[in-house]
Amino acid sequence: MSNTLAVKQRFEFIDQFRGFIGILMLVGHCSYYFNSIWLHLDPFDPLFPNWAQFALRYVGYLCAPGFLMMNGAMVWWSYHRRVKKGASDWSTRWHLIQRGLFLVFVQMTWVNSSWGGFKVFNPWHFGIIASIGFSMILLALIIKMRWQFRLLIALAILVIHPFLLQIPYNTDDTWATVFMQTFIDSGKFNKYPVLPWFALAILGSVMANGWLQAWKTDKQRILMGSAIAALAFLLAIALRMGRGFGTLNHFSDFASWSFFLDQKYPPSLFMNLWFFGMVVLGVTTFIVIGRAAPKLLKVFSIPGKVPLFFYAAHLAILGIFVKRIGLFYREGGVMESLIGVLAMLVIMLPLCKWFFGVKRRSKNYFIQMI
């Protein structure tokens, strides 16, 4: 394989995997809007009536780690590409910080309000997009470090986080709640505290070192990716089977539902390791499929090239039509949710293609940010 092709392949598998994660997220959101299980499903303490509902919910668990890691990988890539092109270190970091701040702004303005179809303006809530933005800002500060140091920082955060979760705080105290739920714990204000998700973003940047630079061939990427994923799975399983440090919820047997369903908000160390492994395995699988049957993955490139637009637009459409107008809002089950996914893809894929064209041609600052 020529070097040029290799460069192209790098971008495609990242875009495609990011697009895949985006579609999984659409699955989760369609379930949230169409599926009657959400009348009684508590995301902090989920219970499932059957495996189909469990599967529908569980596939969405890959989204946050996937986005954070892909974002970390892209921060790393963007920094090095810009610096190589001659941009100064600080201007490159500042560009990443601006993008991070923009994501926080998008969360507070568009995303929060779009869930309810813009019926209420609700800026005072943190969420996954803000968490990605915040992680991006923090990552910009350490992105120049060697991957070994970044890896150490990520692992240190992941190991320390379970201890930080034991810090007591009064949820009636607004500032204590805002601080704790911005960085450490999950609750009404924020389900995605920055600290554990920042660690996954760092791990994404570490993996980018291999995916986009150190591992020169797909074979190397596949071998190293598989080995790292396997190591992560083994570590995660060892932690879970220990039923102690790093796990938060009880489980019945190895490989039962409850085994995989440790705490998501905020994620336990087991969940972080497990889904780190899943993301690495997913990217590796996309590299394999990309070599064997590249046409199969093309559809994922479409949302994968404009992930923020895909996120913001599909949420707004669902929020307006399903929640606000009340079109089949939480009236269906698994099948209706999947039909919703298909309908939304029919709407979103052409929109994403169109927006990608707009973005490529536009020099507008905000369009570039989206």
Partner: protein, 272 residues
Amino acid sequence: MILAGCSSRVETPVVTAGSTIIYPAKKAGDISANITFCRKLNKVDGGQIGAGTVFSIMENAKVYAVVDLENHFNLIDRDLMFHLDWIGPNGRSFYRKQINLSPGDTATVINSSVSISPEKRQAGEYSFRVYYFRELIAEKKFELLPELIITPSMAEELAPHITLYRKTSKKTGKLIGEGTIFTIKKKRRVRALINLGNRFAFNNSDLIFHLDWIGPDGKSVYRKQIGLYPDDSTSTIKSSISIDKKLPGKYSFQLFLSGQLIAEKEFELQDH
């Protein structure tokens, strides 16, 4: 499909004779649960009082769900996690309780209760679900009927008739000493028998009666609550008081349904 393999339950449920919908375990000897609803739990032995699946919304009333765990002893050496979830007619969960049994815990029954006061609940079909390690293992439905608000005309539909008497013949079962004048004597009692001419006048509603014996000073000398539930076809209610240390004078026996006086009979106690 891979995730389906992680499920410990079969997809097709089984309905028991008690109408609990059970999702049987794939593995023999795994936990199973049977659900019973009742109105009260006996404080001494935990026995169920007023078991059924139809309840009436009522002030200060509750529905208890009692979950009998089967095969618990096969897994007594480990932590067990249960969630008991109450679902309203709108499909929303309105109360959830998590119960963790520690290794060695020999409890074979777990329970949960919810208030069915009119300010908290609406009439309709409810369900109660039992989850074991987050998987649904059993479910049972019950119905809440609207609160029974009694008016005097409605009381007539029930056609209550009070008979006061001294005792029942052990041989014939007939009432002895029927009347409204009773003589105060040692070990003597006055008994009231209430016949409900139209026991199911209010269909399946719970009928909660208060039986009040009123003394000559107008104060209650004895008060008793009796519930007649839809599963119970009894159409008579009984109550009695000892009269050996009572003062002579005019007394009355009053019958209340849901706080409304629906029947009354006066009687007199005379010295021997």
